[in-house]
Structure formats: C-alpha cells, structure tokens
Homo-oligomer: 195 residues x 2
DNA sequence: ATTAAGAAGTGAACACTGTTCACTTTCTGA
DNA sequence: TCAGAAAGTGAACAGTGTTCACTTCTTAAT
C-alpha cells in the first residue's frame, strides 16, 4: 500500500511537477481518502523526501557501475560526469524539486544524506586523478570535487529546467544532448588536468 | 503603489522563500486588501516574474561592468563568472525560484528573456577567447557558452540551496566562499584554454 | 468460536491559499 | 458641479495540507 502511494505520487510528479502533486488528488487516483495517506506518511514532505531518496539511490547505482568499470581513468571520469547528468534528466521534475528552496542549515544535517553520498564518488575520483599525477595534487580534493559537482549539477539543472535549452536559445543548428554532455564533461575534465 | 507591493514581496521572498510568499499576508503587511493587488498585477505569477526580471537586470548590470573593464582577457573572463555567481547569491531565494520547475517549451519563448540576455555576454566572451587564439575556434561558441553557463549556474544554485555547502559536507577545513569561486572559475576557464 | 486490541480507513472540519466579482469609495477633468 | 474612471473592498469559490473523533476490519489469544 505504501508503495502504491509512492508509485502514484511519482507518476503525478513526473507529469505535473512537485507543486502539482496534491494529496487529495493523489488519494482519489488510488481510491483512498486523503486522511488514509497520513497513516503511512507523517506529511506530504515526508512522502516526497522518500521519493527523492529513492531517486538519488538510483543515480548512485548508475554512477557506481561506471566508476567500477575497467576503462582507463579519463574515460571513467568522463562517463561519471555524463551519467550523473543523464540519470538526473531521467526525472527532471524530481531532480529540480530536490534542489529547490534554501535548506535551513539546522535541520538538514542528516536529511541531505543522499546528496552527500553522490558526492563521495566525486571525491574519490579527484583523489585518483591526483594520485595518478593528472590533477594538481596541492589542491584540496574535497573542494575540487565540490566545484566539479557544481558544474555537473548546473548542466543537469539547466537542461531539466529548460527542456528546449539546446534547441532554442541562439542555437541556429541544434546540438544533440549527447554531444553537449560530451563537450561539457570534456571542458570540466580538461580544466582539472595540469598543464 | 506598484513599487511598494513589489518591495514588500521582495522582502518576504528574501525571508521566507518564493513558496512562503502569500498574497494575503503581503496585503496585510502593506495594509491592503488582497483584491487590491489584482488591480496592479494580473496574478501572483506575474508579480514574481516582474521581480525575477528586475533581479536578472541587476545581475546583468554587474556582469556588464566587469566585461567592459580594461583588464586583460583572462582577468575579465574570470571575473565575469565570479560576478554572475556572487550576484545570484545576493538573493538566494529569488535565484532558485527563477530556475525552479520545468518550463513548458510552448509558453516561454519570450518569457525567459532575462536569461537569454545574461547568456549573450557569455557568448561574446567565448568568441573573444576564440578570436584571441586562446580557445578552440572549431567549437560552436554558442554551445560552449551554454556549457560554461551550466557550470556557473551550478555553483550559484548549489551555494544558494545549501548555505553550509562550504562549511559542512566533508570539509574539515572550511573554505572561504571567495576562494571557492576563484577555484571554480579557474577550473572552468582552464578547461576552455587550448593545450 | 468469542472477544479484545489494534491497525486501517473515513468524513467532516480547520485554517490556509489564489482569484473573482459585485459593490463602494475616492479622485480627476470638463 | 457632476459624470466617469480609477482605486479599494468584503464576501465568496474552489482548492490546498492536516487533524481528529469515529467506524470498520483484521488478527491474536483465550
């Protein structure tokens, strides 16, 4: 029953966005009373938080499989960045929702666990690049990883927010999403490599 | 009167976020009736859109002054990226609000004008870098500018969403925001320069 | 098989939201 | 002075998340 609620909620968010999700309409969709939902979830926020958690877990799985592959470092790193963005764009509404609003530094110490875990992969990637002598080893890997995450998050967020980002916006010749992600990852990685 | 409404709305958004803005409470704050606001603005969305427009205009002003300075190219480019992010972080709630939700490709053709203009500066910066021989001239400058914007937007968006991004999140030694923005801009710019 | 306990589900209500509309007040220009 | 427009209002509508007393159902123990 819990899962049937979550499924319906995920479907509604995918179609109408996080703000379009209404407990009452959700209840009607699965032939429930609105109050019944509160037997399973303490609040609407709790419900969508659970969805976010599952969503980031899915992203992590994909990044993990790329990171664990046998390809050379640069390929692996390139695909890590790509895959994060591609998986984020699988559910644009959910990804945007996960980063909307200013979080209060007090109450999110544990709530933002999924993001922290996605982040660990980046740190180890940067450390590996430094150990191999490709990246500047004098930089703090955690801080560098934050900058890299920022770049990836920006691409994911922008493409999710503006579905026509690559078609419109001054593009006389539209660019394929895949080609854009390659260019983006190439620029970021190139920026990390020592000269 | 219009401006007094806008001022109050901006203040409330800065304090409680875009979702925390309520027409009714806004009306009470300035001793108005809720209905009166609809004599000046067609809807709540129209009101906050006007705020967004003004906000991006402010950002543009600052980027413009950097771009028009007499410094060498690399300094100018570096500061362009920095200033965009810094100005965005001046009003975190508003910046996040401007990029929340998936926009319908049908109705936003003209609505997203401010973002398009902020974007023009990046295009000309990339073109200048190519003309000077610093950047790979075989790349489409518009597409490259999109990738660069993605990187900057990501930093702005992440820092706005997580105010403690640089203190918490695996940072045993907290990094100054200014130092982080320098590192971020350096990586992105370095990624653009030819090898 | 009976009964008690607890889980699951409900309808009605509360307090809030954006928005509209008929209505009144106020101001302005001829 | 007076008509007409502009500015402002209270009440209402439809929607929201959430709560609570209440009923129904299931399950376990006597």
């Amino acid at each position: 029953m819990r899962t049937s609620i979550l499924d319906a909620a995920e479907r509604m968010i995918a179609e109408e966005g996080e703000e379009g999700l209404s407990i009452r309409r959700l209840a009607e969709e699965i032939d429930y009373s609105p109050a019944a939902i509160y037997k399973y979830f303490g609040s609407k926020d709790e419900l969508v938080d659970e969805l976010k958690e599952a969503f980031f877990a899915r992203i992590l799985t994909h990044v993990d499989s790329v990171q664990g592959s046998e390809e050379p470092f640069r390929h692996r790193a390139h695909n890590c960045l790509r895959v994060y963005i591609e998986e984020a764009l699988d559910k644009p509404h959910q990804y945007l929702g996960a980063f909307s609003g200013v979080v209060d530094p007090n109450d999110d110490i544990k709530k933002e666990g999924h993001k922290a875990r996605a982040f660990d992969y980046l740190i180890s990637m940067v450390e590996e690049g430094q150990a191999l002598g490709h990246f500047d080893a004098s930089r703090n890997p955690v801080t560098v990883a934050k900058a890299v995450w920022a770049c990836c998050h920006g691409a994911a967020s922008l493409l999710a927010h503006l579905p026509h980002f690559l078609e419109g916006m001054k593009s006389e010749t539209p660019v394929e999403r895949s080609a854009f992600l390659d260019l983006h990852a190439e620029i970021v990685l190139n920026g990390l490599y020592r000269r």
